[in-house]
Symmetry: C2
């Protein structure tokens, strides 16, 4: 990852830049990385005066990272329901584009995806399909954070695939950061333009095509769905 | 197939209906099926007068089927080049939708696809992707004829998969007919609204995603391509 090649100063400078540009998810990520490096440095420092300076800086960045966390949290809690769309069992016409493509626009610079289950092949495929749509519709996209649970059966395969996807996104100048939270249950997609998409089943509400080579293999509008609910919320955006 | 359940009279009545509605590919198909049944009947008939009536009918339908064949042939030969788009090696942004989606509209009732190679998994997937686009864009689509070569290594698998795709299209009220022509080389897509799309490599000019889970897995605009040429021709439409 690029972070490994940067020192604390560069990381924190970039964090401040992102913060000022309203890219607060990326800023939070960078503050946390920077704080970690400063913590390691302070441990090696014997000069008391220098130690104090380090601690002051660390506290300042921790406060800023906490503020961002609060802001994202409030952003998610407040807001009003824009639309509710129940998806019926076996219904079609529910591709990600059809359901929420209209909210993915040039104002989206950052995206937070909370999706507990990313370890089966079809789940990786759904993630890629979702990212394809983000990259295609959001031309100023810079940062995507994916929060998911560790695959306890094949953690290596999961981290390999996610790393491949991260590297692919990096080629397109989008930083993808993967965070594992093993208590995660709820699914949501938070867009930095102020929209939040909550789907009961997260990204995974499509039935497999049967037989395999049927319409729906690539275009998810043709896929039959599992019953679930889609709620779309609107809040003030991150920057406002 | 539905044809198996119909008698010669019903088939030929339907052929005439399709012919009058300008759905000439389907009409040609039905004439040929009807002629075959009449030929079998005439062989079993001992009454000379009745035999003569049969032969007259057969000749009449053969003439009509030949006229249609000529008309399709001329349609393909005449015409003017609308656009030529060279696809460079490793270029992207060349999904079927991006290349020729604008010509797939409500005026397309029938499509002829000549694609010699349909037996590898990715080739079946390309066919399904192409059909998804047809069904989505052409809301009056009734008939698709696919001409291809027999898979000499695994003909059963090929016919099973194509039969599954045919059954799936039938559910959407589109008759898909598969014709095997083992001398086929050229690739083309003929639309009944007068457009003809000729791609040097047919449907198969996309490189596989590498690694598998990368952008391009579903959205072919992200796929790197093989070098090929796309020519789009415009002729008078079938009905005119």
């Amino acid at each position: 990852m690029f972070v490994g090649k940067m020192n604390a100063k560069d990381i924190l400078m970039r964090a401040v830049q992102c913060d000022q540009a309203g890219r607060i998810l990326e800023a939070q990520h960078l503050y946390q990385d920077g704080i970690q490096i400063l913590m390691d440095l302070v441990g090696d420092e014997s000069d008391v005066a220098k130690k104090k300076v380090f601690y002051e800086r660390i506290k300042e960045y921790i406060d800023r990272a906490e503020q961002i966390k609060d802001r994202v949290q409030k952003h998610v809690i407040r807001g009003e329901l824009v639309t509710n769309k129940p998806i019926d069992d076996n219904s079609t016409g529910n591709s990600y584009q059809s359901l929420f493509g209209q909210y993915l626009n040039a104002d989206v610079k950052e995206v937070l995806l909370e999706e507990p289950y990313l370890y089966e092949k079809y789940q990786f495929q759904n993630l890629v399909t979702f990212l394809e749509l983000l990259v295609k519709n959001c031309r100023h996209l810079k940062y995507v954070r994916v929060v998911t649970k560790t695959d306890t059966k094949a953690p290596e395969n999961q981290s390999n695939v996610l790393e491949q996807i991260r590297a692919d996104m990096a080629k397109r100048n989008v930083t993808l950061s993967i965070k594992f939270e093993d208590t995660l249950h709820d699914r949501k997609i938070v867009l930095s333009n102020g929209y939040i998409i909550k789907i009961g089943r997260g990204l995974h509400f499509f039935k497999a095509t049967n037989p395999l080579y049927s319409l729906g293999l690539c275009d998810y509008d043709f896929r039959k769905c599992l019953q679930t609910d889609v709620d779309i919320w609107r809040t003030r955006n991150f920057i406002a």
